[in-house]
């Protein structure tokens, strides 16, 4: 049996539970129509339209996402190196240190340019 089959079994149980819960919640609860209740929650004032119309949000979030990709790919390269470390020898170690140093240069650049400042 493939080792991935049990994962699918557990996912199926969890999915059944989640769908059942949502269905049961929709059936068991009362339904009392109220126009104000269906508005977006904003502490009782008229809701702002930005969120619904795909409003703009701080550009910092895009920057964080791009930096995440850089470092996540770095760790993806580091993982196979770490797993096979004992069989690779000194050459791989030196190469990996050079690789980390290269990414560190990019990191220092981002830091100096203020890419890691939030406000």
């Amino acid at each position: 049996m493939s080792p991935y089959v049990p994962i699918l079994v557990l996912a199926a149980i969890a999915a059944a539970f989640a769908v059942f819960s949502i269905g049961a919640g929709a059936l068991a609860g009362p339904k009392r129509y109220n126009r104000a209740k269906l508005d977006a929650y904003e502490c009782g004032i008229e809701p702002t339209p930005q969120a619904a119309g795909g409003g703009r949000f701080p550009i910092k979030y895009y920057l964080v996402a791009m930096l995440f990709i850089v470092f996540d790919i770095e760790s993806v390269f580091l993982i196979p190196f770490a797993v096979a470390f004992d069989r690779l020898g000194l050459f791989a170690l030196i190469e990996m240190v050079l690789f980390i140093a290269t990414v560190f240069v990019a990191y220092a650049y981002v830091w100096r340019r203020g890419g890691l400042e939030w406000d």
């Binding site: 149980i13 977006a40 904003e42 939030w118």
Partner: protein, 473 residues
């Protein structure tokens, strides 16, 4: 070549053997994990409320069932009987899908966690590992599933069509991806020591400590990776709190600023699913920490010696595993009862400027140390000495960079808040402003051009005199 490939794969493959599992065994184990997680969630909610209550000198829930134990279940039933509101601005399909994504991913991540070694199922002859399944890339699988779980949060925030959930969802995703890097980098040194990503192999790698000769004595080094790799352990523990949006890093749900965060618009059992997912995520990261750093299901040191490792066989390991797991959960609750919430810029600064560089340098230091102690890599004495020297230099670099970095950040923060002037005119802005500590009130006409200028004069004069009295005395 193929022989070599097989040998390489054999080293990374799981230690646990799932050859005896048939469909029923797999289904039973999956059902067990499901029930275990749901029950442990109810117990954790109860425990959290009771422990935090005790820390705040109040009793906590104690009415529903013995010691209030089934309070969580009562809350669940209450939520099920509430109206399932779907606001009119939402994107309906995504709005319903988001809690389902969260719920499925949080359960699935637990499928590779080992509860114990092979044991016989009672009343049958089937011997099977106390673990649903294991993969050569098990820990990577958990990280991947956790990353998919972010979709549940960000889609919930986006589809709500409301400002607070959108901001909460964005904050949450930025937070989770930032701390996921530090978490992944902390785990790399564990893979380096264990030589595998399979959870059962990592537990097996923590069985015996290395025997090392120190000053003529043969000492068995401790085998838990938390002791062998302390920096990685600390980074992981901090990152796991950030990953699960728990206090003091619960910024996406900062109720003072964002109402409820990404689940503000959710009600009834959809809200309950998010709540369940949050607690199960907390249990999952605790289980990963137990497996990767605290020896997994293995009995702690003095107990492991009893009866020639008797306590590491059969069903006993489940006890140690759950005990260590509950220890981490108590740690989470303790944090929540102790620490105030961080500001978002402090939180991001800590993640990007402290955790990530420390984790990177730690990986290089560990790799150098490991290479220096390996017979195949450091064959001659010179290489060995060079590697040890590089490793030690990098360790010093970690601490040096940490101290100077934090110091510089503190000074920049201090520079940003300029010192307030000694004298302050309380009516300069057109409305009264109280003085800061140490500031002296001065008379001025302000900008009000005196409609009620004369009326407020006596009060100002009185305040000025009172202030002078304090400073003069």
């Amino acid at each position: 070549m193929s022989l070599l490939a097989q040998g390489v794969l054999a080293a990374e493959n799981p230690v646990a053997d799932f050859g005896n599992d048939n469909g029923w065994v797999v289904f039973g184990k999956a059902l067990f994990i499901f029930v275990f997680l749901v029950l442990l969630t109810l117990l954790t909610i109860w425990g959290e409320r009771r422990v935090v209550a005790r820390m705040q000198s109040r009793p906590g829930p104690n009415r529903v069932g013995p010691f209030g134990l089934i309070q969580g279940l009562a809350d669940g039933v209450k939520l099920a009987l509430k109206e399932d509101v779907i606001p009119k601005a939402v994107d309906k399909l995504v709005f319903v899908l988001a809690p389902i994504i969260s719920a499925i991913t949080c359960f699935v991540a637990f499928s590779v966690i080992p509860f114990g070694p092979a044991a016989r199922i009672p009343f049958t002859d089937i011997v099977t590992p106390l673990q649903l399944t294991d993969l050569p890339v098990a820990v990577l699988f958990v990280l991947a599933v956790a990353a998919v779980g972010v979709y549940g949060i960000v889609l919930a925030g986006w589809s709500s069509g409301s400002t607070y959930p959108l901001l909460g969802g964005l904050r949450s995703s930025a937070q989770v991806i930032s701390y996921e890097i530090a978490m992944g980098l902390a785990l790399i040194s564990v893979f380096l020591y264990a030589g595998s990503m399979s959870t059962s192999s990592i537990v097996a790698a923590q069985e015996h400590g290395v025997v090392r000769e120190i000053f003529g004595l043969d000492l068995t080094m401790p085998a838990w990776f938390a002791v062998q790799l302390p920096v990685a352990f600390v980074i992981y523990v901090i990152a796991m709190v950030g990953e699960t949006n728990r206090a003091p890093f619960d910024l996406p749900e900062a109720e003072g600023e964002l109402v409820g965060g990404f689940h503000t618009e959710y009600s009834s059992l959809k809200f309950a699913l998010f709540f369940l997912a949050e607690y199960i995520n907390m249990i999952t990261v605790s289980a990963i920490a137990t497996t990767l750093f605290l020896g997994g299901w293995r009995a702690p040191w003095p107990l492991s010696a009893i009866g020639g490792g008797m306590l590491n066989e059969g069903w006993w390991p489940m006890l140690w595993f759950i005990g260590k797991l509950l220890g981490f959960i108590f740690f989470f609750i303790w944090l929540r009862g102790t620490l105030p919430r961080l500001r978002y810029d402090q939180f991001m600064r800590f993640g990007w400027k402290v955790l990530i560089p420390v984790a990177l340098v730690w990986i290089v230091a560990v790799a150098c140390w490991r290479a220096a102690n390996s017979a195949t890599i450091a064959a001659d004495g010179t290489t060995r000495i060079v590697l040890i020297a590089v490793g030690i230099a990098l360790l010093f670099a970690i601490f040096g960079a940490l101290i100077t970095g934090i110091d510089r950040a503190d000074r920049r923060d201090a520079a940003r808040h300029e010192t307030p002037p000694d004298e302050v005119d309380p009516f300069a802005g057109g409305f009264p402003v109280p003085p800061l500590p140490g500031q002296r009130l001065i008379r001025s006409n302000g900008i009000g051009n005196g409609r009620d200028d004369d009326a407020r004069r006596p009060a100002l004069a009185a305040a000025g005199e009172a202030d002078e009295e304090v400073h003069g005395g």
